[in-house]
């Protein structure tokens, strides 16, 4: 078993970076609140990706310079953004038509739990005093593919990739790929399949930290993010 895992774990920025590497050329993508938003900063140069924000923006650009913020132009996290050339503004029902109509190629969402059957729990721990769901269920149900970004385990060390979600579901059977601080894991008809793992961690350790069977190919890839993120 690998000792002292923390030195191998990816940062949140590195998880976002890794997910961004897999966004296909030409994709329309919605980035969930939290870690996923940072994916926009790490799309490989020359790859054309269009970001949608569920409050009615297609073609979201980077955060404006300080002092240039316009709070009539914000993203789903309510942070100020800009518009890229070729952007379009629509109203809320038209914006969610893009989502629930299956027009987004990809939604990259945060996760509390991901189950081996693709179930996603990311809106409620079941313990929150005030519940809030936002657009998470629409994105989970509507996007052509859903990827989840999460730490591999929670603060108490419990697996977040599980056999069955304990927490209330956001969507049933929707997650196709999970990016964690230790690995890239596909969700397939056979369950979790390891695609890549960080250096320094062995498969036995990863399996111990995963709450459901983890299928491991002969030669899983090496997850090597840039430092400094």
């Amino acid at each position: 078993m690998t000792e002292n895992l923390s030195s191998f774990r990816l940062t949140r920025g590195q998880i976002a970076w890794r997910a961004a590497q897999d966004i296909p050329e030409g994709a329309y993508v919605n980035l969930g609140i939290g870690m996923p938003v940072a994916c926009a900063n790490h799309v490989p140069a020359g790859r054309e990706v269009t970001f949608q924000s569920e409050n009615g923006i297609l073609g979201v650009g980077p955060r404006p310079a300080q002092g240039a913020e316009d709070f009539d132009l914000i993203n789903a996290s309510k942070d100020p953004v800009t518009l890229l050339p070729g952007a379009a503004i629509v109203h809320h029902a038209d914006s969610f038509a893009m989502i629930t109509g299956g027009h987004l190629d990809l939604a990259i969402l945060g996760a509390f739990e991901v189950a081996a059957n693709g179930d996603l729990a990311n809106w409620s721990t079941g313990a929150a005093r005030v519940p809030g769901v936002g657009g998470a269920m629409d994105l989970a149900a509507g996007a052509k593919a859903v990827w989840a970004l999460t730490t591999h385990t929670d603060k108490a060390g419990r697996p977040k990739l599980v056999q069955r979600c304990d927490m209330p579901l956001t969507g049933a059977g929707v997650v196709k790929r999970v990016f964690t601080d230790l690995a890239v894991v596909d969700v397939t008809a056979e369950g979790f399949v390891l695609r890549e793992m960080v250096g320094g961690v062995d498969v036995e350790t990863l399996r111990a930290l995963t709450g459901a069977p983890l299928h491991v190919p002969v030669a899983p890839g090496r997850l090597s993010p840039p430092a400094g993120l």
């Binding site: 709070f71 503004i89 914006s95 005030v130 519940p131 809030g132 769901v133 936002g134 509507g142 049933a172």
Partner: protein
Amino acid sequence: MTKPVTTPHEAVAPVHDGATVMISGFGGSGAPIELVHALIDQGARGLTIVNNNAGTGQVGLAALIREKRVEKVICSYPRTNDARCFTELYLDGKIALELVPQGTLAERIRAAGAGMPAFFTRTAAGTELAKGKETREIDGVLYVLETWLKADFALVKADRADRAGNLTYRLSARNFGPIMCMAAKTSIVQVREIGEKGSIDPEIVVTPGIYVDRIAHVAEPVQEEALFRAGARYP
């Protein structure tokens, strides 16, 4: 028809106790602060509010809630930077909450505007937010039946209007405004600028005047986010 132009206070005068009131905005963008503050002054109570959120800080919707004018909030996300006005009443059991996925909320509002009492959507199928709702499997996929969401009034922030009531909005402040104007019996809109009929190109109108009943002129609208950051409190 030619729409009356009034002050915010005159515009919200007809809101009655117990009314269902839609309020536009996503966070601070599109929040009709001046109309909401006029509604606080006006005094209507027992309101059901439809908004994406449940107010931030001590202004706008948060202040309306703090002043105990609101019986129920229908929204997708009542948790914001500072949602204490809602949170305190909610945890005390003094305000009701109907939590609706954001896209379903938007589509239920549009459905009311378009005369469709119910529609099937995949959103929330298989989750606890679909509990008690009719579901149906269509072509192997599970869908939930959702019903229209109507309102007595909509308070909406637009940018420009002409006297026919045609509206344009500013950037992502558009959000819920156009569909709320469609869904409310009486829609009350605040705009920065009002022109004569014909001053807005018919091809760029976002909300056609048929959906607009009362126009309040607010030449220099404040941004909720700016008030919040300044620590403002209303009244």
